[in-house]
């Protein structure tokens, strides 16, 4: 099925693709996810706020991000903004795009997790004299975090795959590296399958980590 030349190309591409994954795909995913989570918590709290303005801003943000394609958002940030005098490095542009995306989608997860915590927990916190802020920080968010680990892990795994979109804004992660090799080797089927294998590998490792994390957090969930 594969001739010697193809096998050689396959083997020669292993290291460059792996390096692109470790040095470019994963950092992009990690940085965007951490910043995105922060944004998600802020957005979720804004949506649950008793004030109208933060609620409106948060809903508008989620509406815009969820209603437009991520690829289009990346193009606006990387190819569009220079027309307005804002020129961004591909990594920075990608981080901004993915952070906004994670923030919007995950805010729904965080919001649902906060709402899933029983009202009695708020009341117990209030009954010992805590303010809303203290109750949130000490009682509600730690429990909400536990509830949202499985869906957030799924978001992260999706994000790792979505980073392939950054190839379109010249960020040399796994997929763009594969494209570059295809350009000289003329082996699209081989190289794109090899790139897919790397995504599969990374995502499998992350799934295993997710299982481990869920088990560790299980110690008080029997109630």
């Amino acid at each position: 099925m594969m001739d010697d030349r193809q096998i050689q190309i396959f083997l020669d591409s292993l290291l460059p693709l792996f390096k692109a994954g470790v040095a470019f795909t994963l950092p992009l995913a990690l940085v965007s996810f951490i910043l995105g989570l922060l944004l998600a918590v802020i957005t979720a709290l804004a949506r649950l706020s008793s004030w109208r303005l933060p609620r409106l801003i948060a809903r508008f943000y989620v509406w815009v991000i969820r209603g437009t394609p991520l690829l289009v958002q990346l193009f606006i940030i990387f190819y569009g903004l220079p027309a307005a005098g804002i020129v961004l490095d591909p990594f920075i542009a990608a981080v901004i795009g993915f952070t906004l995306s994670v923030g919007a989608y995950s805010s729904e997860i965080v919001r649902a997790a906060i709402l899933s915590i029983h009202k009695g927990q708020w009341e117990a916190a209030f009954s010992v004299g805590m303010s809303r802020k203290q109750a949130l920080r000490r009682v509600i968010l730690p429990q909400a975090a536990r509830v949202s680990v499985p869906p957030l892990s799924n978001s992260f795994i999706s994000l790792v795959k979505d980073t392939s979109l950054a190839a379109s804004i010249t960020y040399v992660e796994i997929f763009r590296k594969a494209q570059q090799i295809v350009a000289t080797s003329y082996e699209p089927l081989l190289l794109y399958c090899e790139a897919a294998l790397f995504y599969l590998l990374f995502c499998s490792v992350l799934s295993a980590l997710q299982n481990y994390l869920e088990k560790r957090l299980d110690r008080y969930s029997a109630s």
Binding site: H118, G120, Q121, E123, A124, A125, F126, S127, V128, G129, M130, S131, Q134, R138, V139, P142, Q143, R146, R219, Y220, S221, A222, S223
Partner: protein, 249 residues
């Protein structure tokens, strides 16, 4: 010490409290009884403002609150009132992500800004008092209902409240676990803790109460000593309620 005047509370069109007056003296145990839906839990939850009354007034030592419809009570007043009250809930509501001792330390550290060591030694003393010193490091899900409720009592005591509020503390418990919780509450009564208790346990009520309040349909039907309310009442509605209860036993 606590005085409530003409308290009203509605949920939407449903009037739950229709003008309640009562006073609790320092060191007194007041038990509130009455049929379901009579407003007794809502009344109790007004003591620490988990429910905000629509009308009337509430005085706790030096804090005096007047309620008018739509008016907000300043957050600082709410917090200082709550720091002088402790509450024990029907469904315990322990913090599941903290150990027993963690639950008892939490309010002391977060609200009262005590040092960890101070909070820990006070928490240990309280757990010892409710008979659970050996369960200090257990998580709530590792404890029986009765044990959880005793931790909850220790947690409520930890912030040194002026008054302890109990909302049907044994209703969610298996019958064989009720005794251990009632025993702790009786012990506190003997030590002179001021308490307001909503309960269905009549025998316990007769036993522990200095005053009993019988509520029905948002108003106080009868109030007085256990003898006056449980044995000498002439009020037909009160008699109906008490007879139905004794029929069940």
């Amino acid at each position: 010490m606590i005085e409530i005047r003409d308290l009203h509370k509605s949920f939407g069109p449903l009037a739950v409290l229709k003008g309640v007056d009562l006073a609790v003296e320092h060191g007194q145990v007041m038990v509130i009884i009455g049929p379901s839906g009579s407003g007794k839990t809502t009344l109790l939850r007004c003591f620490n403002l988990l429910e905000t009354p629509d009308k009337g007034s509430l005085t706790l030592n030096t804090i005096k609150l007047d309620f008018t419809p739509g008016a907000k009570i300043p957050q600082r007043t709410v917090l200082s009132l709550r720091q002088q009250t402790g509450m024990v809930f029907q469904s315990y509501n322990l913090f599941p992500h903290m150990t027993a001792i963690g639950n008892v330390m939490e309010g002391q550290i977060t609200v009262q800004k005590r040092s960890k060591d101070e909070a820990r030694s006070k928490a240990l003393a309280l757990l010892d008092k409710v008979g659970l010193a050996d369960k200090a490091d257990a998580y709530p899900h590792q404890l029986s209902g009765g044990q959880q409720q005793r931790v909850a009592i220790a947690r409520a005591m930890a912030v040194s409240p002026e008054v302890l509020l109990f909302d049907e503390p044994t209703s969610a418990l298996d019958p064989e676990l009720v005794g251990e919780v009632l025993k702790v509450i009786k012990q506190l009564a003997r030590e002179g803790m001021t308490m307001v208790i909503v309960t269905h346990e009549m025998k316990f009520a007769a036993d522990v109460a200095d005053r009993i309040i019988l509520m029905d349909n948002g108003v106080i039907l009868e109030q007085g000593t256990p003898r006056e309310v449980l044995e000498q009442t002439k009020n037909p509605r009160a008699l109906q309620f008490l007879n139905r209860l004794s029929g069940e036993e």
